[in-house]
Homo-oligomer: 282 residues x 2
Amino acid sequence: MTKATPASIPTIGVFDSGFGGLTVLRALIDRLPRARFAFLGDTARLPYGSKSRRTIARYAAQSARFLVGEQGAEFIVIACNTASALALDAIREAVTVPVLGVIEPGAAAARAASKTGDVLVIATEATVHSHAYTAACQTLGLRTLEKACPLLVPLVEEGWTDHPVTEEVIEIYLNELRAEADAQGMNPDTLVLGCTHYPLLRPMIERAVRPGRVVIDSAESAANAAGGLLNGHMRGSAPGASAGEPAEVRCFATDSVEKFERLGSRFLGRPVGHVELVDLGG
Amino acid sequence: MTKATPASIPTIGVFDSGFGGLTVLRALIDRLPRARFAFLGDTARLPYGSKSRRTIARYAAQSARFLVGEQGAEFIVIACNTASALALDAIREAVTVPVLGVIEPGAAAARAASKTGDVLVIATEATVHSHAYTAACQTLGLRTLEKACPLLVPLVEEGWTDHPVTEEVIEIYLNELRAEADAQGMNPDTLVLGCTHYPLLRPMIERAVRPGRVVIDSAESAANAAGGLLNGHMRGSAPGASAGEPAEVRCFATDSVEKFERLGSRFLGRPVGHVELVDLGG
């Protein structure tokens, strides 16, 4: 087998409103350890989770255009549930390369995990109001109940990922969700983490769900889907198989790169290195 | 006394990154009940509190230009501690009308209240890192200790203004601040609420501070300062004294006007009415 030259390895563009998407990038690097990644965090305009479809679509399309036009990305992973839920069509219109969001892979993983066919989803306000998970799950024959948990992102960003207050907030949100599921006569056995910040709370969330329930991480599900697609797509350069250089990762942010460098490592699980500031005109 | 015609009443432009500044607008309406107000919430790009000086200055200057250029504001009140702390100079360069921030009035009220000369300030991350309160208080002979409380804004926006979790978070933040003040040998008797969201937590914060300490609301302090300036400035039309029409308030937002209309009334203490969507190009 011919060893791939670096030039033959396509760039995978990964984008999020902030740092959360670095959990998706982390899972992608595990699956495609020899690939080349360009990650953009639109930190000047985060969070998307509390904003409108129109605004999110405009921001997300600008971000995708930067990754394809300026960074030569040949594949886009939207590492953000909110942008996947509200801007997938806008992004697909804005660029000509394949675009993968996190919603469909999350729904597919829930379908594979659930025996009862009843699934709970926790996410940001905008993701929940879009009902993108409900739509994706419905086409797979699943019944869903979604709940916005707006305090979880700020708690993660405060670094309270192992704090009693966070445990209490998770209990409150999940109790409200369970009460609503009971009221609707549902029998859910699967919980989808519909926000890329939530994997950092996974140990706490797993303690809070009833025994026997499966917790689905949409970041991992999306990385699995992208890994499958890209290992095929990049067969010539075999990024997951060659013994060449480790993954090349370039990070870009639209606001303070210092903060990105400081907080990003918490999500990526390793130092993010030098982050370049970009201006999308916002 | 001649009754003022509406045309002789200047428009006061009030601006914030979101809804919090409506607490300042509310206090301004109390003091200038016959004035004309144009309020802009830059909700598409909120929150400013976690962003960099460069980004905040650009956003704030665009917002001020809209209020002066498009709405004819003849006086600008920056109803946002973060923008006051990081963008006052940028705003004064961007427009030619008088501009009042909330930091100096807050510091002046602390000066008037404090007997020991030691003052505590709670605010957003960006306001604290700017040390704008410390600088403003120092010129008045006060010693300050500032603390960022990033969870308080999300807790207010979640509507948990009377919730045990919020009480616990306030206790944690204030205990950390008190321990730091003790370690520095300070004897603080005054606490400044350096964020326009915090007045909604005032009853809880007052319960959490030691008896005898004064809580200063920067929104009220700024409204007092603006009221004093403007009642003089608008003597011809006497907006605070005439028995004419009640205050005319027009609200603008850069994102979802529905959300603004829904949440805004909580801050304004009355319905915000129709909100117009504006595009600042971000």
